[in-house]
Amino acid sequence: MEAPGAYQEEVQQQRFRRQLAAVVRNFQWSYAIFWSISTTQPEVLVWSAGYYNGDIKTRKTTQPMEFKDDEMGLERSEQLRELYISLSAGDTNQQCKRPSASLSPEDLTDTEWYYLVCMSFTFGPGRGLPGKVLASNEQIWLCNAQFADSKTFTRSLLAKSASMQTIVCVPFMNGVLELGTTEMVLEDQALIKHITTSFWEMSFPVCTEQSISSPPFPERDEENNMIDAVISPSALFSLPNDNTSKEAEELHPNIYEDLNIDSPDDSWKDPTNTQQMAGSFGFNTELIDDEFSNGVNGSLIPSECVFPKAAFDILTEKTELNLVSLDLDDDASYYANTLVSILKNSKELNSFSRNLIGGCESSFVVWRKSFEAEKVVTGASQKLLKKVLSGGTWINGDCVKGVQEGVGLQSQVWKCGVDVSASHVMSERRRREKLNEKFVALRSIVPSISKVDKASILGDTIEYVKELERRVEELESCQELFDHESRALRKNNPDLVERTSDNYCVKAMSNGKKISLNKRKVRDIDEAEAEQHWVFSKDSHLDINVTMSDQEALLVLHCQWREFLLLEILEAIGNLHLDPVSVQSSISESVLALTIKAKFIKSVVASPGMIKQSLQRVVGKC
């Protein structure tokens, strides 16, 4: 279905790749990438072509091994590209199975991973190494790439994992040509020139184009005369030399082991879930684009960031590198996201990594939906859990036994097993209710209470009781005085005594209107607004009480009974212009108890004192 134009393009692409291959192998570097301007987004550099020349772990080829090295290299790069595409492909590739000879993530070395991840990068104007190179149109030679600041070299962390030490970017054609190596190579302008010139020489055989004296096979050439190194086919594939590859191998298990710990979602042997993985790849590129175009410090999903932090720690082998404090610029966060998606979601990676650790397997198996009985509800569900939560009601009835057997503290603690705390709550509630009732009762007794809160109820009650006490004192002292004086004065001057005592008593009484000494409610006394006159006489057992209101007089009398006493009393009252309206009398044990209500006949009202006097005269007459 390719149009002729497309075919042409294809051929050109191929040629370009070969050129790249030649360049890289000339200098025995690890990879070359050509970044070109994106067709979809202006001024953004995207991966366009690349050649991988670095360390390989497993060789999966469709051709026999004796094939030429350069072809193998090309094929390898192709395979890596295919792998990247399949990883980042969308939903449609969900179920795709890669041909058995194609690569899968577990086959890759760190350097290959680096190469692969680079495919996902894009660089906005001035961003990243390629971006800067394009913008300034000047080359950049970066040594110690893995230690570079991620602001200058965004992929520094990635480089570290791949032990990528030197990166060179050169403006080339309409994009940027990038070469990288795991060796440390010092800056060499001649090299760069060679790169650009040699690119145009379409040379297929890889052997020494650069005629330079060649020391024998390079071990780690510390003098950085990479150009001088002999290029031999076998050397290509053993480069970078054994040290690094060993390192990579060692690094591998460590990384993956640690990753293992931090990513529990592993050991899925089910490879059908590439969708999720792919999805996040796709998602991440969008994220990048947004970030780059907006230049906004990406609004990262917080939950995603927790994990990448852990991943980073592992990858940097817990060095002091101050990582991803999550307020780094968008480049680092983009990196974070990409790595997250690769690490977290590349399930095959993780499942494979298990094998690295030594074949130990998880206790868990991948969950498979079973179409058997959907819900099997057993008889007593959550039995033990419910017992635990019941707070001891499982202690069967005979808790006394438990108490006796319990040690020390236990016996104090446990009363009846059932609902111990509930009864505690109930008794507390009852106590509170009782208290409240009593407060209400108190409020009804004490007259002066206006507010309903407990504090003022108590306060008013206290004052009331004090008041009452004071009056009781007064009354008692008044009575004593009266008795004393009455006895004394009676001898001398009976009338005077009475008057004096009356007055005295009156005065005392008028202050004590509210005193209720015969259990009458205070309110009644208040309403009556009466004067009371108490006369106590121990000698003659005479008690007279005269209460005057507006139109009535109430007389209460207790005295020794004799004949005709009642008649005489009524006579005396009549003489005082009082008309008895009701009379209650009773005699018990020769004591007359008399209560008379009398009305005033004329407007002249006898004073209580006079009434009393006359009554006394009557009673006293024996």
């Binding site: 979602d265 130990c360 868990f364 959550q382 939560l389 707070g391 319990g406 705390s421």
Partner: protein, 345 residues
């Protein structure tokens, strides 16, 4: 205690215990032997807490009888001090039952050592009544704080260094069944009244209801707060095979309801380091590991058929307890009947 390997799965390491085990705790110290504390559950007053180490390489259980101690009222929960001093030979472990107790466990190595009771934290004024504790949680951010939940509807926050109550709140209308700390001063609790409430110690008057069970008053029995991503909480209902995942930023609506257990769920635990992984176990004898979907953006809905778990394990009997080791995150411990199994994730 013997060590036998399960015939079903060579990668599950089983230990037989003489009595049924309920409470389980992993020691959070990263030193190589995994140490487990196991609390028995007998319906009598003669329970114990035993200690066992497990060697990852040789996969051998080694009981430590010198360290075990009596705990007459069965422990409803056991928990080690969340931030132990590394390379120290003694650890602090708390147990809840009738009271909250702290024990000092001195493991001198080679099976020697002993445990002693350090303090009993009892808040009841009269010795007549005590309200048994259903659960407790040790605050990782502020390890002097332990929060306990009780059937007397209260939650108590203890300052264990002073040995005194920091505060006691009436948390719910009914019995409180579980409590979990979020930050240093924030905890959540679930209750028989069916609600999940969050309390902030800076504002004790008010609590936030994050979720209420749909059928009113269906008790919520267990709660777990995701310590690696404090947005998420998970809860278990009574007599239900569902696990409710809540996002505290969108209360009342669960993020997901995980419904793949074939019988009621008994226990669950969040993964200690991954942000959204959860393991649950129940009466169907299955331990399932789930990946919780991220809180859905508004407008998107969960797939109607629900979320599937990623991994599963069958124990063959009702699993009563599950703990995910924080120090060794690829180990999960489960307890069923009288057996304790360690599963490798």
């Amino acid at each position: 205690m013997e060590q036998s390997s399960s015939l079903l799965n060579p990668n599950a390491y089983t230990m037989d215990s003489p009595h049924p085990v309920y409470a389980m705790a992993f020691s959070p110290s990263v030193s190589s032997p995994l140490r487990l504390a196991l609390g028995s559950f007998l319906e009598e007053y003669n329970n114990r807490v035993d200690f066992v180490t497990f060697d990852e390489e040789s996969t051998v259980f080694r009981p430590e009888p010198a360290l075990s101690f009596d705990h007459p009222y069965p422990a409803t929960k056991l928990m080690f001090h969340p931030r132990p001093i590394p390379s120290s030979t003694s650890s602090l472990i708390a147990s809840s039952g009738d009271f909250l107790r702290l024990w000092q466990v001195n493991h001198d190595g080679d099976g020697a050592g002993k445990s002693e009771l350090r303090s009993v934290l009892n808040n009841s004024k009269s010795s007549d009544f005590c309200a048994p504790l259903t659960s407790f949680d040790w605050n990782e951010a502020e390890p002097r704080r332990i929060g306990t939940s009780s059937i007397d509807t209260t939650c108590t926050v203890w300052d264990i260094e002073r040995g005194a109550v920091e505060t006691q709140l009436i948390a719910h209308d009914k019995e409180v069944y579980d409590i979990a700390w979020g930050e240093a001063g924030v905890f959540a609790s679930v209750s028989a009244d069916g609600s999940v409430r969050i309390f902030d110690l800076r504002d004790k008057e008010h609590s936030t209801i994050v979720y209420e069970s749909p059928r009113p008053d269906t008790p919520l029995l267990r709660l777990a707060w995701n310590k690696s991503d404090l947005r998420y909480m998970a809860a278990i209902l009574m007599d239900s095979n569902r696990i409710i995942i809540l996002d505290i930023r969108s209360p009342a609506i669960p993020v997901a309801e995980l419904q793949r257990h074939r019988a009621c769920v008994n226990t669950l635990a969040w993964a200690p380091q991954a942000p959204r992984h959860l393991c649950s176990a129940g009466d169907d004898g299955q331990a399932l590991i789930w990946e919780v979907p991220a809180a859905a953006a508004p407008g998107t809905t969960l797939p109607p058929e629900g979320v599937d778990p990623m991994l599963s394990y069958s124990a063959g009997a009702e699993i009563n307890q599950l703990q995910w080791s924080a120090a060794h995150p690829d180990w999960i411990g489960i307890a069923f009947e009288s057996k304790v199994q360690l599963l490798r994730v």
